[in-house]
């Protein structure tokens, strides 16, 4: 719930026409921007977000920091693709825009989407980073699109220069099947330095804010809530497995990066094989899930029957005959699917035995109850009983 003013620098250079992020890099970026704006405004309604473009004819501020999401959505539509990204100028203009924010109590943050190549020197970027740190501006960089070693190195150096107490982050997103915004959801850019991240991200993804975990009331729709919870846990387990695998590999490469960086940078190297592995994992997990669901559905009838058992046993505590009758009637329910005729035969036999016992008065209320509990007997069976009594 940090009070923050954010400037988002989007890349609208020629490199954004590429379709390696679906549908185009620019569209994927726009979706991510919308998600970020929503998340920032939700975490604290007094947060403001602004947008500027870095390429085109020059750096242009589209929206100054505002909490009006409609304005931000509208301006993303109007921007055009062209030119080359000017990273240094973009960051400096963003810093200026933040300096003139209305509410001076807000912390300052810049989020940069770096899609095109970076033409500035590492030294220049480090100077910019130091200046941001001095003025206590945090910086988040999303490295996507064009991939080359020097670009990654430069951006890492920039974020390292700005980073003060882990408030700045860099995320590398390789091209792949998952959307840019989905990948960003699990990064610190959304989770904001680890304050209840995944729960919030889930709420943002579901698009709803409610008191319950997944925007679904467990009382109203327990199966849906259960299914959502299970799928969230499966996703978490999958990510942890992938992170562990990537962490082991990347610990050989670089000493100091966060586990998120490790996951993402590892993906850069072996993206194809990893995505396949992930798909396999998902299939296995789905099968396991299905089996789990089936097992649970099997359990349900048993539980309902046992609850009924307890209710009945309380009621029939006093009267032994009644108890016996209830027992028989419940056995009858359990065996419902099996042979009905056999059941009836058993019942008539039992009732005839009971009535023929010495000292059992057919008019006794307990006997009447007993008979009443076997309501499904046809009338001729009762006629059988009557002559038997007469015989007695």
């Amino acid at each position: 719930m940090v009070l923050e003013a954010t400037m988002i620098c989007i890349d609208n250079s020629e490199w954004m026409r590429n379709g390696d992020y679906s549908p185009t890099r620019f569209q994927a970026q726009a979706d991510a921007v919308n998600l970020i704006c929503g998340a920032k405004t939700q975490s604290n309604p007094e947060n403001t977000v602004g947008v500027l473009t870095m390429a085109g004819k020059g750096v242009r501020v589209l929206v100054t920091p505002t909490s009006d999401l409609g304005k931000i959505l509208a301006c993303m539509h109007g921007s055009e693709i062209g030119g080359e990204m000017n990273l240094a100028a973009g960051i400096q203009v963003a810093q200026l825009a933040l300096k003139h924010r209305q509410n001076k109590k807000q912390q300052q943050r810049i989020i940069v989407f770096a899609g095109g190549p970076v033409k500035y020197d590492k030294k220049v970027l480090e100077m910019i980073g130091k200046k941001l740190k001095k003025n206590s501006v945090a910086l988040d960089v999303v490295n996507f699109g064009e991939e080359d070693e020097s670009k990654t190195e430069k951006l890492e150096a920039l974020v390292a220069a700005v980073n003060n107490n882990d408030s700045s982050h860099i995320v590398h997103v390789p091209a792949g099947s998952s959307a840019l915004s989905d990948v960003l959801l699990s990064t610190p850019i959304f989770t904001g330095d680890g304050e209840g991240g995944s729960g919030f991200a889930a709420a943002a993804a579901a698009g709803g804010v409610s008191g319950f975990d997944f925007g679904v009331d467990p009382n109203l729709d327990p199966e849906l809530a259960l299914a959502l919870r299970v799928s969230m846990e499966e996703e978490r387990a999958r990510q942890e497995a992938a992170a562990k695998k990537a962490a082991d590999d990347s610990s050989k490469k670089e000493g100091e990066s966060t586990s998120q960086d490790a996951t993402m940078s590892e993906n850069v190297g072996t993206s194809a094989s990893e995505s396949e592995n992930k798909k396999d994992d998902m299939m296995d997990d789905e099968n396991a899930l299905l089996q789990q669901a089936l097992a649970m559905s099997m359990v349900d009838p048993d539980t309902t029957v046992t609850t009924r058992d307890t209710d009945m046993s309380e009621a029939a505590a006093d009267d032994q005959d009644l108890a016996r009758a209830l027992q028989f009637s419940m056995q009858e329910d359990a065996k419902d699917q099996s042979d009905m005729g056999k059941l009836l035969a058993d019942q008539s036999f039992v009732s005839s035995i009971l009535t023929s016992l010495p000292g059992v008065d057919p008019n006794d209320p307990s006997v009447k109850d007993l008979l009443a509990s076997m309501q499904n007997q046809p009338e001729k069976k009762e006629d059988d009983k009557a002559p038997k009594e007469d015989d007695k």
């Binding site: 719930m1 604290n44 309604p45 007094e46 909490s67 300096k99 209305q102 509410n103 001076k104 130091k130 740190k133 001095k134 003025n135 206590s136 003060n164 107490n165 008191g211």
Partner: protein, 204 residues
């Protein structure tokens, strides 16, 4: 401008003079270019503790001795003089520039703006030097910003103590404020002490 504290402290109580630190709005204290965020709060303490660095000191980032300290007060004060205890080995600041009643001054602002007053500082490790202000300009101070552009040759600037001498009035300045009203209830802002009722709103 600096006068030496050359009398014995038995006749008067020095610490009561340097008591403006009690009127500082501590949660809103901030500094720019500090190496450890929040370390600026350790610098404002009682006169007797001015040499005690157990709670830390304010240090600037490596390689950059520039510092800005923003000091808001809980009521308007009149500042008579300021005392600074710096660090050893050239890490003491050598110059101080003061601005009053301006919020959100950053380094580019500080360098371009005309200060209300500027002082050349000496290396004052014992905290016996005080720098007097042009008192007429320091009446009705709601907040004070101190800018230390450079140190005595050290890589960083270190400040152990900032003392302020003066008077506190009970008045608050009238400020034309841009107030942002609460757009949506934020549960963390509404911690209710008692559950007991009568209240129409029930925040969970």
């Amino acid at each position: 401008m600096a006068c030496l504290h050359d009398h014995s402290c038995e006749d008067h109580d020095c610490s009561s003079d340097w008591s403006l630190y009690k009127h500082i709005d501590i949660p809103k204290l901030s500094a720019l270019n500090e190496a450890v965020p929040g370390s600026v709060k350790a610098v404002f303490k009682a006169w007797e503790q001015r040499l005690n660095s157990s709670e830390g000191f304010l240090e600037s980032n490596e390689g950059d001795p520039e510092l800005i300290v923003f000091i808001p007060f809980t009521s308007d004060v009149k500042i008579k003089s300021i005392s600074i205890v710096g660090g050893a080995d050239g890490t003491s600041p050598n110059k101080m520039r003061a601005f009053i009643n301006r919020e959100g001054i950053d380094f580019s602002d500080a360098q371009s703006m005309q200060a209300v007053q500027e002082w050349d500082l000496a290396e004052n490790l014992q905290g016996v030097l005080e720098y007097q202000t042009r008192y007429s300009r320091f009446q009705g101070v709601g907040n004070l910003t101190l800018h230390f552009p450079d140190s005595y040759g050290g890589d960083t600037s270190r400040i152990q103590y900032i003392g302020l001498k003066g008077e506190a009035t009970q008045l608050k300045r009238d400020v034309i404020a841009t107030i942002v009203y609460e757009l949506m209830p934020n549960p963390s802002d509404h911690k209710t002490k008692s559950e007991s009722g009568g209240g129409m709103s029930h925040v969970e």
